[in-house]
């Protein structure tokens, strides 16, 4: 192949195994939302900061292309709930199956973080008065709210502007940025897992160079794993909700370094992703970005909305207000199941629409109908929300408009036939699952330090933490805590043997001429999860999964090959994906009870949520063996007191 003139020479110099050594006080792995905020907040404290990103900081990660909802800013002046009440309600709505620490940080500092973002150049209010007088706009601040217009817990923002603003600030502060560099492992004192983290290694995915990062404090911000149950490059693209860069490297390297992870058993049926889906936020629906859009059937018959009691809601505006029958507020929380579910239940499209379609009451296909929406609602959905929601500015707003879509005249088809909503898909292949909101990750304390000294985490890297504002606020919080930590520790010497081992591990695929490529390996490891760790779980089925996984690691992983630095990076990714799959399988085997909130069904332990299992199950690696443990569901103690003791106000 190499002599074939139809192939272009690799455009970058090949620097496989060549070392570059970089030192800083603070090292940030991942240049997404959490990573950028962590780097900015550390640099503002005067620390020297290095930021490493696998892609390009300007747009990489889930939040790179945008954000339309800034959620749970309990400190925003219009919110009727204070941070305490808000975090309490959110935790209760999720039966406490959420991360109290990161949830509280979000509720208590969401708004002050947003104001900082505005100073950097992010657009957070309707400065042009385009929505003057709209029911979702606060006239004095020009801020705009979503979902519950009375309680103002979620803000509408122009998040397409955020990532470029963060990048400018990073540059202004002199943060050293290493792009197209994939962090592959953590370096530890004495080279042993579980000891203090003193740096990391990286692979440049354009040149193949090996970069050694030395630091006093390291933060992981590499988001949630993806591609564990489902991967199809042929169908990827628009239908993949999460970007390819987020492949669980952080989870795998934390595991290898001896950090404790939890909640890895939580996954959910595939949503917004997979082979047969449509562009995210780009088909007719009434959810999320499109709330509270009218939906009609093929004959134009409108589908009603109902309140929490199933009573029809008479007008559009009331879809964004608590029920008139005594409801104080509603929350928009996926996976509601807690005791306050009824109290905070949002208005919704007819919940039994599927049955009614089957009975012939509504004719397929269904459509989203912006034409009959009030003018300001139509313009805010098609223009602000679709436009700033991640992955919508060009893919939906521009491409559809260029092809002639006119929200004043046209009905957008829904492809989720019976549900009419991409957020409530009719069941497809039940074996296809994903880690999503509330998924597993590393355990942290109030400084957002993991269980390993010197290793911190922010954003979706932390268990049960997700959302743009949550990533921003935790990044902002951790940056300061890392600088405090770094002031008290020395720069340790690196262990040569650990570096050599890592080079051997990651460069092995370039020394093979052929074998299994990363895509096939990814699909193969997904099948392990589909067959042995999907909707229906049993002890023996999952043990079979572990056995197959062991076999693949023994027999197939050593056949992985890569013939350029880009493919080498993707190959290292799939090696991490199978590691994460091992964590998931082990976590699932540990939980010997089913759980509604965790979407966790064990055929051999069918009882749902018995109280003795209401706790976090943890796992970590010690001397190559998996050490299992547990934490109380509220291991963080008093939220308010701890937040105050560890937040910027008290300590810097």
């Amino acid at each position: 192949m190499s002599e074939d003139s139809s192939f272009i020479k690799w455009p970058y110099p090949i620097l496989y195994e060549q070392e570059d050594v970089v030192s800083s006080e603070v090292l940030v792995l991942g240049g997404g939302i959490a990573g950028c905020w962590a780097a900015i907040s550390a640099a503002r404290q005067g620390a020297s900061v290095v930021l490493v990103d696998k892609g390009c900081v300007i747009r990489s990660g889930c939040g790179g292309p945008g954000c339309d909802h800034w959620a749970w800013s309990g400190d925003n002046p219009a919110s009727t709930l204070d941070p305490d009440q808000m975090s309490h309600d959110l935790m209760e709505a999720r039966s406490n199956w959420t991360n109290g620490i990161t949830s509280y940080i979000n509720c208590a500092s969401g708004y002050e973080t947003l104001l900082e973002l505005e100073q950097m150049g992010g657009k957070i209010r309707d400065t042009e008065d385009e929505f003057k007088g709209a029911p979702f706009r606060d006239e004095s601040t020009k801020m705009m709210y979503a979902y519950d217009y009375e309680n103002c817990t979620i803000q509408r923002v122009w998040g397409h502007s955020f990532k470029p603003a963060l990048l400018e600030e990073l540059k202004r502060l002199g943060v050293k940025i290493y792009e197209r560099c994939q962090a592959t492992s953590l370096l530890t004192e004495n080279g042993k897992p579980g000891t203090r983290v003193i740096g990391a290694t990286g692979l440049n995915v354009q040149t193949g160079q090996f970069v050694i990062f030395k630091a006093k404090a390291t933060v992981m911000a590499m988001a949630m794993p993806t591609r564990n149950w489902v991967f199809s490059s042929e169908h990827r693209g628009v239908s993949s909700f999460k970007p390819i860069v987020n492949s669980g490297n952080g989870h795998a390297m934390a595991w290898r370094a001896g950090a404790t992870l939890t909640n890895m058993e939580r996954s959910m049926a595939l949503l917004l992703d997979g082979a047969n889906t449509y562009p995210a936020y780009g088909d007719g629906n009434n959810n999320n970005t499109w709330h509270p859009c009218n939906m009609v059937d093929a004959d134009g018959k409108e589908i009603p909305w109902v309140d929490r009691d199933g009573k029809e809601i008479p007008d559009v505006e009331s879809r964004s207000l608590p029920s008139r029958l005594g409801q104080e507020m509603f929350l928009f929380v996926p996976g509601l199941g807690g005791k306050s579910a009824y109290e905070s239940k949002p208005p919704m499209l007819l919940p039994d629409i599927q049955e009614r379609v089957l009975k012939g009451e509504y004719k397929l296909p269904l459509y989203a109908d912006l034409t009959t929406m009030p003018d300001d609602e139509r313009r805010v959905i098609w223009g602000v929300m679709v436009g700033n929601e991640s992955k919508t500015k060009t893919p939906i707003l521009k491409v559809y408009s260029d092809a002639g879509f006119d929200p004043e005249q046209d009905l957008l088809q829904s492809y989720y036939m019976l549900g009419g909503s991409s957020m409530m898909r009719e069941p497809g292949n039940i074996r296809e699952r994903m880690i999503f909101s509330g998924g597993g990750g590393v355990v942290v304390d109030w400084n957002l330090m993991t269980t390993v000294d010197g290793l911190f985490a922010a954003g979706e890297q932390i268990f049960s933490t997700n959302g743009h504002a949550s990533a921003a606020t935790t990044g902002r919080h951790v940056g300061k805590r890392m600088v405090e930590y770094a002031a008290d520790v020395n720069q340790a010497e690196l262990e040569r043997e650990q570096i050599e081992e890592e080079k051997k591990r990651i460069y092995a695929p370039i020394h093979r001429e052929n074998g299994v490529d990363w895509k096939e390996f990814n699909m193969g490891s997904c099948r392990i999860m589909q067959n042995y760790c999907s909707e229906h779980k049993t002890e023996s089925l999952m043990q079979m999964g572990i056995d197959v996984l062991d076999e693949y690691e023994r027999e197939e992983l050593p056949n992985l090959f890569a013939d350029n630095p880009h493919k080498l990076g993707r190959t290292v990714d799939v090696m991490d994906i199978i590691t994460v799959n091992r964590l998931i399988l082990n976590a699932c085997m540990m939980r010997k009870a089913s759980s509604a909130y965790l979407n966790f069904d064990r055929l051999d332990y069918p009882q749902k949520d018995p109280p003795e299992w209401h706790k976090w199950l943890t796992l970590k690696q010690k001397n190559g063996v998996i050490e299992r443990g547990e934490l109380p569901i509220d291991y963080w103690g008093s939220l308010k007191e701890n937040y105050e003791a560890h937040s910027a106000g008290k300590r810097g």
Binding site: I8, K9, P11, K54, G55, C56, I58, R59, S60, G61, G64, P65, R180, V205, Q206, S233, E234, H235, R236, G237, V238, S239, S240, P243, I244, V245, Y278, P279, G282, D283, G300, Y367, D369, T371, S390, K391, K393, T394, P395, K398, V399, Y400, D402, A403, G404, F405, Q409, D410, L411, L412, Q413, Y415, K519, H566, R570
Partner: protein, 113 residues
């Protein structure tokens, strides 16, 4: 039996003169972005904003980047947004994901192009 060109209904074989190569199938979807070569200056700004590393620079200076890994595209359109030349690059949703809509007044249907 061998048919002459005329008998087999093909009069002019010269139109098949083009060399035929043994090429593998291409990956699908293969064209996440479409360049307008007349407008593109080859500045590679689109490439720099691509988190998935879909492009590599063209060895011919001034030409649009090469789409090397179309199967990894996230379809976020960030390449298009970063391009300084209006119309030099456009995002092209795969055929199986081109969504349709209906004009309410006429019932006519349209789709993403």
């Amino acid at each position: 039996m061998r048919l002459t060109a005329q008998e087999s209904g093909v009069n002019d074989m010269s139109k098949y003169d083009k060399q035929v190569y043994a090429k593998p199938n291409q990956v699908t979807p293969a064209r996440p972005a479409i360049f307008n070569e007349d407008l593109c200056t080859g500045c590679n700004a689109c490439m720099a904003a691509c988190q998935a590393d879909v492009f590599i620079p063209n060895p011919v200076e001034g030409k649009p980047p090469i789409i090397l890994f179309p199967d990894e595209c996230y379809y976020d359109g960030c390449c298009v947004e970063e391009c300084p030349v209006e119309g030099a690059i456009r995002l092209n949703h795969p055929l199986m994901q081109k969504v349709r809509w209906k004009r309410k007044a006429t019932g006519e249907t349209f789709r993403v192009k």
